[in-house]
Symmetry: D2
Subunit: 223 residues, 4 copies
């Protein structure tokens, strides 16, 4: 009897210890562009997620890291994947990219070909999965907030988002469909079809409402 | 008395004759880009309109002229307006432009700024109206035939088409809304969301069904 | 006799007065883009020209007006020619444009086609000449200050400048060849092939040395 | 004793045979874009090299493989490096790329950022070297054959070529400077400054003279 109790105690303690050491904190890395780079600032979506985690008393369960760099496209993420993400041994990687792949076509002539977008995206996902981390995909939200499909990059944002949605479905990956969330929100809250000031302050980067919307959606995916 | 009657008769006859000779034929000039350039070829939408006029026995009522040049944008139309249109004293000018204004942005870096598109468009319309001719506006149809707004230029085609619609309404001008017609047709006839082969053979230029759809719509506007 | 003398005196006086009122000041309008818009600010090239005129005691001989608007291309100049230039009855118009016609190709997809550049340029010149004013042409200087032809837009700046040079020669118009001046200056003063900081502060807009170089060259053309 | 001698003879013969079969031929892979894809056709530069090798009686010393695909940019080469090059165990890899990295900026908005060009280029070179193969670099030749630096992409071709030259020097890699060869040839043989027909038939792809010039230069590098 005593032996048995001791054994059970040992096992139980071990489990607790192990869970504390390894699984106690879920390390989530947000991997993306300027939107994510700004996300770690006060009031940014990652900051809001941290506040929520604090308020929930879950600080020992989550560690959130921002890995966003302004102007990044999918192949920038590919090129810095090891250094900025894999070397940090994340449990979850949230990939939010696509705005610059589309936008840089007209802005500087160096957007990403549609087919290359998929090839590099898939390569990034496979490398993360090879390290045993979970991947969460996010569609690019908006470049301009009119919901009537008359923002100049709407066609391409829809095209690239459709690819991400299809890829997520095929690979059975979690998806935060920010593009859909933003368009639905605009349809309800943007009666004058303005192109900024609803969820962004400049057509692309999140204002307070935008950060809150994204934080809420991300929370559902990572909690 | 007799002289007076004869004079009146002569005047009346002259008026009828003159109206028959000069005003009897409505001269319609289709002013546009490669889609209109191809429109005068056998099976093209202008050719189909001529067939219809022939079949209706209305050859003495209409004269249709094509004035389309491949690659033209709104300021190309502006630059050749006198030479190719006004000098021919049309009764009606159908302006169908916009595809290249949008497409050339990504294809060669020389698309038309949104605000300049409006300025030159308005200048073209005013110059035609100053000559006493009627103006019929046409929205750019498609660059890619998917109807889910995922063709790369959909956002801009919608934006520029919205401008034309609004301008037509404000100026009380006839409008053939090809963009709407094409999207509606695709929604009914393109279940697989292919991007060509429905109303175009190459995402932009009209196939037989496209020429027929356009000819029918144009007929309603010019008849 | 007396009457005749009085009449002659009156005529002579009138001519002198008129010439003083009208022709006494040479009105020079600088017509261009942001470089010219900044030219009227303190230390800008037009401001430096005014200082020179003041120091020369020639304030009753020259009136300099800036008509530069940021982002302007040749067809922007065309569109606002009457309002901003011709309505002000200039004696001389200095046309300095071309940087945005080239730059906007890669920056926003709305640069100016090479052939349209020439067509609108010629139209602007002809309209100015039709009003009896003298035209002075200026080549676009630089987008990047390396002199080894490795700035991304060098090929196009050379191409468009060649057009202006050839056109000036054919039409016998005065030319201030800023592109040549800037490249020659860089060859002498830019041993490290830096791409800004020699005559510009940002690869395009003039620093103090740039404003002085331009003011000196403009002076030779307008004095 | 006899047995031993026979064995030694067998081993020696085997070694000679194997070295003849495997190592006797230097396997050279030409890795690039459409210019290289066309290079294997009759009269193409790789075909001319094979003719030369045949005429020299060196067919047992060289094996030339073309691995060019139209439209390829540096990151296309990166993406298909294993499949199309490394898996074939080359002794030498000739990398000729850059035209599309520059050209696609204005042609479809998906050129390669200057800094990414270098990052992917270096990654390709390092992967090839890691397999023990020799690397030969080639600068992009021309997009337009005027030698006065007025072809639209001259600035960028010079910029990207400068990078390749500097990289080759730093890494002590063989370089075939096609850009310099083509410009020098044009300066001597293109008195009218035409933009095609000297070494290319369409401003980019090689005509007979172009293939011969390239074949001669490549031969010096691989022989």
């Amino acid at each position: 009897m005593r032996l048995k109790s001791a054994t059970l105690l040992f096992i139980a303690t071990s489990i607790i210890c192990l869970s504390f050491m390894q699984g106690g904190k879920k390390k989530v890395i947000f991997f993306g562009d300027s939107i994510t780079e700004l996300g770690v600032k006060k009031g940014g979506y990652i900051d809001l997620l941290n506040n929520r985690i604090n308020n929930n008393g879950q600080t020992n369960q989550f560690e959130l890291l921002g890995a966003g760099i302004g102007g990044n496209k999918i192949y920038d993420l590919y090129l810095r994947l090891e250094k900025d993400v894999l070397n940090k041994a994340p449990n979850v990687v949230v990939i939010w990219v696509g705005v610059n792949d589309v936008w840089h076509k007209s802005m500087m002539g160096t957007g990403t070909d549609y087919d290359k977008f998929g090839l590099f995206y898939d390569a990034v996902v496979q490398k993360i999965q090879a390290k045993g981390a979970q991947v969460i995909l996010v569609t690019p939200a908006v470049i301009g907030e009119r919901y009537d499909q008359s923002n100049p990059q709407d066609g391409e944002l829809n095209l690239y988002s459709n690819w991400i949605r299809k890829y997520a479905a095929e690979k059975n990956l979690a998806l935060v469909d920010c593009r859909k969330l933003f368009l639905d929100y605009s349809a309800k809250n943007n009666p004058k079809q303005v192109d900024k000031g609803i969820l962004t302050y400049d057509r692309v980067h999140l204002n307070d409402a935008g950060n809150q919307l994204v934080a809420d959606a991300m929370w559902e995916a990572i909690k």
